[in-house]
């Protein structure tokens, strides 16, 4: 295997920068207490590999905001015409250094949707361009904390999907194991040396039972009491979705810079926002936090696996560690099984009574109880 000494890591990043790549690595944000984010590395910044980043690396394939095209109205011979200038696809080579297996695996899960096999679905050109230019250098985890649960998803910290090169922490530095051709090219740099050291033992995180989780979710779908109790602490902010390496919903909208010109953009959007499903009529099929959180869990553990063959959660634990309200999605997942056991067909609680009860077009059987308007 190839080995790089710890003090030569900046040299490696420098080599990547010299090769024309923009390099992103975890760094503590200035003036904050241990807020670690992926940020561009230009040569001087200190990188921070021992803490978990508050946000994932998904912004490198799905930027928070991306312009799709700009447009301009002109008058030609008394007739109004629209000129459209498409934004060129990204052609920048980017490397992310110090992603974790959970971050990388999420990219593989996203590929299933955004980059299906030729001819089997829509290939998103924006995502495709960013993804093609991205090199993922993953740091394998030899430790974990109590929010981590990636071992629930098969290989856990030993997962290689989505990574190009995996670095294993060992005495004095990092062992490098390529996964792809891109990774092999980097491991061949002479800043690495050959080593006889063997790979370290990787962490094993806490596990939750995901057996049949999609069906368990569907079994609990109609039990709005369950969802209301499960989401009592939820504040309905977008942190969990924006921090999640696999959440990928976006909104497309126009912003005009004058009355003649503007741009069409797509930005991250979060299903935890009330406005996410708010319809022009004023009707909202997901009026309560319970409705919205249920959708989030369903998308990750039921709908997406059914449609794309991949779970949309990799157990990174960000939504648990940093939830301002103190929610732990693992408790919700554990609770699903109990609901299914308790609600055999035909034994579900009768009659909703809350303010959303019986409203047409509300997802599910409609809300129970006074919290429905939460």
């Amino acid at each position: 295997m190839r080995f790089i000494a710890t003090d030569r890591i900046p040299g490696l990043l420098g080599r990547l920068v010299e090769s024309g790549m923009s390099v992103w690595a975890p760094q503590v944000v200035k003036d904050t207490v241990n807020t670690v984010l992926f940020a561009p590395w230009t040569g001087l910044e200190e990188i921070s590999l021992d803490a978990y980043t508050m946000l994932s690396a998904k912004q490198l394939v799905l930027p928070a905001t991306e312009r799709l095209f700009s447009y301009r109205y002109t008058l030609e011979g008394g007739r109004e015409r629209i000129g459209i200038e498409p934004s060129p696809p990204a052609d920048k080579e980017t490397a992310v250094f110090g992603a974790r297996a959970c971050d990388a695996r999420a990219l593989a899960a996203l590929d299933a949707l955004f980059l299906p096999e030729e001819g089997s679905g829509y290939r998103d050109p924006g995502y495709a361009a960013h993804r093609a230019g991205l090199t993922v250098i993953t740091l394998a985890c030899t430790t974990c904390d109590s929010a981590c649960f990636c071992s629930s998803f098969g290989k856990g910290p030993a997962e290689t999907a989505g990574s190009d090169l995996i670095l294993y922490p060992v005495e004095g530095g990092l062992l490098a194991e390529p996964v792809t051709e891109k990774g092999s090219q980097i491991a061949a740099f002479d800043i690495f040396e050959d080593s006889e050291q063997s790979k370290p033992e990787l962490a094993t995180t806490a596990c939750i039972d995901l057996e049949g989780i999609g069906d368990k979710f569907l079994g609990a779908f109609n039990d709005l009491d369950f969802w209301q109790r499960a989401t009592e602490n939820c504040l309905s902010c977008g942190y969990c979705t924006y921090a999640c390496p696999a959440c990928h919903c976006f909104n497309i909208f126009d912003e005009m810079s004058s009355d003649r010109e503007g741009e069409r953009c797509r930005s991250w959007d979060a299903c935890m926002f009330y406005v996410y499903t708010l319809e022009t009529s004023g009707h909202n099929p997901r009026p309560s936090i319970a409705h919205r959180y249920r959708n989030r869990v369903g998308h990750k553990f039921s709908y997406y696996p059914a449609n794309q063959g991949e779970l949309l959660c990799t157990g990174c634990g960000r939504c648990i560690r940093n939830c301002p309200g103190g929610l732990d999605v693992r408790n919700v997942l554990k609770g699903l099984a109990a609901v299914e056991a308790a609600t055999e067909p035909g034994t579900r609680k009768p009659g909703p009574s809350g303010p959303e009860a019986g409203k047409p077009g509300t997802e599910g059987p409609s809300a129970n109880g006074p919290e429905a308007a939460r």
Binding site: V29, D31, T32, V33, N34, T35, L37, A51, Y52, M54, L55, A64, T65, D145, S146, A147, A206, R229, E232, N233, L235, S236, C237, G238, Y239, T241, Y242, A243, N251, F253, E255, C265, S267, W268, A270, F273, Y274, V275, I320, R321, N322, P324, G325, G326, D328, R330, P370, E371, A373, R374
Partner: protein, 309 residues
């Protein structure tokens, strides 16, 4: 059975739900919990990791009688919500707990790592054999706290006079540096800070006084005061709308800053504004349920605000 548990159980005789905390083994800290019955309430705790301001949930519980376990600062939020008609005094049962200050979880992680149980005794906190002086890991708002005595309460747990507020301290370095900046430097400072904002709206959702929530101008296109782009310009505009809307309403609970995942020091702005409101109007939000917030009643053509009232 602790006094806290017993008192929550008593309140549950007349309330539909009591908002409090339980210890989470995974978090190594307290997490909020809603107690619906006496059995659930048996798990109630109060310790220095009970950071959350549970008053944030009250405006959504208007049609129920809700109890709330509240620190002195949380009670100020309840008071402010009452004065703004968002919470009915007769529908809330305030269980006041004596609070010697709560920890900044980010500082705890830096010192100890996530998920380890914190032991808080004798001016020191200890986790996995490592210790730190207690005051050093408290939230800034707790330093020199003026609200250890409950302003209003229905049930008192422990002896509020028995806790000494932590010694005052300004946020290390940052406040001093910020105050010394020229307007142009401040401009650059905030542009840099808001360049990290992802517009997750955690600041808004964690704020007990941001009760507009679902119809907030930070997110709507009607009015279209901010664009939908996630960038420094739009994020800063959205935040300034939020902050201005909190003039004379912010109680300084610091929840927005605690919730911010990218570490934007929002309290620098809010503290500044709160000081200005206190100086101009002699008004400190959340201290009098009968008072009307100055900017709710301020009339520019008839400026007769009486700072003594």
């Amino acid at each position: 059975m602790t006094e806290l548990v017993t008192k929550i159980q008593e309140v549950l005789n007349e309330a539909d739900v009591v908002l409090g905390w339980v210890h989470s083994a995974a978090a190594g800290a307290a997490v909020p919990a809603w107690f619906h019955n006496a059995v659930e309430a048996e798990a109630a705790v109060f310790d220095s990791t009970c950071v959350h301001n549970l008053a944030v949930h009250l405006p959504r519980l208007q049609d129920r009688t809700a109890g709330i376990v509240a620190k002195g600062c949380d009670i100020r939020s309840v008071v402010q919500l009452i004065s703004e008609g968002q919470v009915r005094r007769d529908r809330v049962r305030i269980i006041s707990v004596p609070c010697p200050g709560v920890v900044d979880v980010k500082k705890v992680w830096r010192c100890f790592g996530y998920g380890k149980k914190l032991i808080d005794a004798g001016g020191q906190v200890e986790m996995e054999g490592k210790t730190a002086p207690r005051e050093e890991i408290l939230l800034w708002k707790c330093r020199g706290c003026r609200d250890t005595a409950p302003l209003i309460s229905d049930v008192v747990v422990g002896d509020p006079a028995g806790v000494a507020p932590p010694s005052p301290a300004e946020r290390t370095g940052l406040r001093e540096r910020f105050d010394a900046m020229t307007p142009a430097e401040r401009r650059r400072f905030w542009q840099e800070q808001f360049s990290r904002c992802i517009r997750c709206n955690a600041c808004r959702e964690a704020c007990p006084l941001c009760f507009c929530r679902d119809v907030c101008t930070m997110q709507t296109r009607e009015p279209h005061w901010t664009g939908g782009q996630i960038n420094a310009r739009e994020a800063e505009m959205a935040q300034h709308i939020r902050i201005n809307h909190l003039a004379g309403r912010c109680t300084g609970c610091e929840e927005c800053e605690r919730a911010c995942p990218v570490g934007i020091p929002l309290m620098l702005l809010l503290e500044e504004q709160n000081r200005a409101v206190e100086k101009l109007f002699g008004y400190r939000a959340g201290t009098d349920p009968e008072a009307k917030p100055p900017l709710l009643v301020f009339d520019i053509d008839n400026d007769t605000w009486d700072s003594e009232r």
